[in-house]
């Protein structure tokens, strides 16, 4: 029952849930979490595939993805804080200076 297909299907489901969250939520912090969820689903697929391929190179990629994701979150939160300082509000709908 728990073959590679099961884990891929689980990863796909998490990917779709994350994509849905990014598209529907307004709070940029929750949007970030959903994006992290999508990264994690990619990681889960990599770990499952590594195991079934019997290779460790996928683990190395996951290692780097985690490091990159940490850096990305830090920069994203930095930008959100910068916006909050200027605007006192971080609802993406209120950010509409750019249109057209």
């Amino acid at each position: 029952m728990f073959g590679v297909g099961f884990f891929l299907a689980l990863a796909f489901a998490l990917f779709a849930v994350g994509a849905f969250g990014v598209l529907t939520r307004r709070d940029p912090l929750v949007m970030f979490m959903c994006i992290e969820m999508m990264f994690n689903s990619g990681n889960l697929a990599l770990v499952a595939l590594s195991r079934y391929l019997g290779l460790a190179s996928g683990h190395a990629l996951v290692f780097f993805v985690v490091a990159v994701a940490a850096a990305e979150v830090a920069v994203g939160l930095g930008i959100i804080i910068a916006i909050f300082r200027t605007e006192k509000d971080v609802n993406v709908d209120h950010l509409s200076e750019l249109k057209g």
Partner: protein, 488 residues
């Protein structure tokens, strides 16, 4: 393992260290303006190194770090363009940052050098690991550069946030595609993928993997519908950053498309070329029609840049050696024309504002600037005798030839659409020219009186770009010879 191979990258990293130490040692009250000159000189040195090194002409290309770093002619040629763009961007930033009183100049130049380093690693990637990490490294640098005017303008940080959310989303798509490719092929090296693709069977999982990888790369290239970030980010970012992002970011993305789709996954060209051509057709139609109704000069140029990305991708879709050469030549022309156009718009916006109407009367106020902008936009539209004409001609010819030789009628149709949309693009490029030469200047508008001030840094940028626009148009054969030698 040849550790001396990434010498240009070491040079750029060394430059980053110099910038970091300068910012640390020099007291806070001293202006960081000199760093712009330091960066420009450093990049010029690396550029000289790149121009002097010869592309390898025999089959096993030199690699380092166990094949993760590839120093082939493709990498060399694209690195030359990226470093040239970085040099021009540092020169353009000098007075721009100073005029706005940006307090983060040291960090700005540091991020600029680190992003350049990332782009250089990206075009040399021999492995999906290197590719992914270098892509994220340059994205993170760009997120901060786009938002560097925070506090001064909300739009700058807003654009940074939009860019970051959409950029991370596209990275997630790419990562998923990479994981599926890894699962199917059992390798992360691009050479290994190429060997696997030559004999592998097609499966639905493969189509899904290719679609995800193509989507992730299309975002970096800003092909429709993965372009949503481009107009906002281009408009709100500091103009030198916009210019750098639009030329260096895009040429690196082009190199990546060539490496991943043409070189590594060339065995599946019948699968991915349909995906890519749908994106390109959408790009031609949406970007060229969308540009017609823009009133902000930078936003118009953003739509134009999206359209130009579509033209560049023709070379990738053709998948032939000729197509690759044409794409590289067009990328070279595009770097210098786009930088020239953004530089003029930056100078004019200082006095006349960001609207198109700010250009009114420029033909009389500053004939030189008006002439360079006119040459740049006509080159982008593909009018002789400028470089853009030859660039588009080679691209379309390569597409038509591949379409006839390989019997790919869809490619022929796509080139036809590109030609039609190229004519449409002439309208909005001519709007810019009309504003400069025909529309009467509004006497009420601010700063429409005297000539536009052109500082030394901008003079150098404009001089280099104007020379290159003319050279690529009037006497392109030495440049073509250089390209052929690089892509033997």
């Amino acid at each position: 393992m040849n550790l001396a191979l990434p010498l240009p990258e070491y040079g750029v990293l060394g430059l980053a260290l110099v910038v970091l130490l300068y910012d640390l040692v020099v007291p806070e009250r001293v202006s960081r303006r000199a760093l712009g000159w330091v960066c420009a000189l450093g990049f010029a040195g690396v550029l000289a190194l790149l121009l002097r090194s010869d592309a390898p002409q025999v089959a096993p290309v030199p690699t380092a770090f166990g094949g993760m770093y590839v120093a082939d002619g493709l990498a060399l040629a694209f690195k030359t363009l990226i470093v040239a763009a970085a040099m021009l961007a540092s020169l353009a930033s000098l007075d721009y940052l100073e005029a706005r009183g940006v307090r983060w100049q040291g960090e700005y130049y540091l991020l600029l050098t680190l992003v350049t380093f990332a782009l250089m690693c990206l075009v040399s990637a021999g492995d999906l690991l290197t590719l992914y990490v270098a892509l994220e490294l340059n994205s993170i640098g760009f997120y901060a550069l786009v938002a560097v005017l925070k506090g001064r303008s909300l739009t700058s940080s807003e654009a940074g946030l939009k860019y970051l959310i959409l950029g991370a989303l596209s990275s997630a798509l790419l990562l998923y595609g990479i994981s599926l490719l890894y699962g199917l092929s059992g390798t992360v090296s691009l050479a290994g993928l190429a060997a696997w693709a030559a004999g592998a069977a097609r499966s639905p999982a493969l189509v899904v993997a290719l679609a995800l990888v193509a989507a992730g790369l299309a975002f970096k290239m800003s092909l429709v519908p993965f372009h949503m970030w481009a107009p906002d980010v281009y408009q709100a970012a500091p103009t030198p950053v916009t210019a750098f992002l639009s030329v260096a970011g895009k040429t690196a993305a082009l190199a990546l498309l060539v490496r991943v789709l043409d070189a590594a996954l060339g065995g599946f060209i019948g699968v991915w070329d349909k995906l890519l051509m749908v994106l390109m057709a959408a790009t031609f139609v949406w970007a060229n029609l969308g540009a017609l109704k823009q009133r902000d000069a930078k936003r118009l140029m953003a739509y134009s840049s999206v359209a130009q990305a579509g033209y560049l991708a023709i070379g990738v879709a053709a998948g032939s050696a000729l197509g690759l050469q044409a794409a590289l030549f067009y990328a070279l022309v595009y770097v210098f024309t786009n930088v020239a156009a953004f530089q003029v718009l930056q100078l004019v916006a200082e006095s006349g504002g960001p609207e198109l109407s700010g250009l009114r009367g420029l033909g009389r106020r500053s004939p030189g600037l008006a002439l360079i902008l006119a040459a740049a936009v006509l080159s982008l539209a593909g009018i002789p005798p400028f470089g853009g004409f030859f660039g588009k001609f080679y691209l379309f010819a390569a597409g038509v030839r591949e379409g006839i030789v390989a019997g790919r009628s869809w490619l022929l149709a796509l080139v036809g659409l590109a030609v039609v949309m190229s004519i449409v693009s002439l309208f909005y490029y001519l709007i810019l020219v009309k504003q400069m030469y025909i529309e009467p200047a509004d006497p009420e508008a601010p700063g429409t009186g005297g000539p536009v001030a052109v500082p030394l840094g901008a003079r150098l940028v404009l001089g280099v770009c104007a020379a290159m626009i003319l050279w690529t148009g009037l006497y392109p054969s030495p440049i073509l010879a250089w390209i052929r030698q690089a892509l033997f």
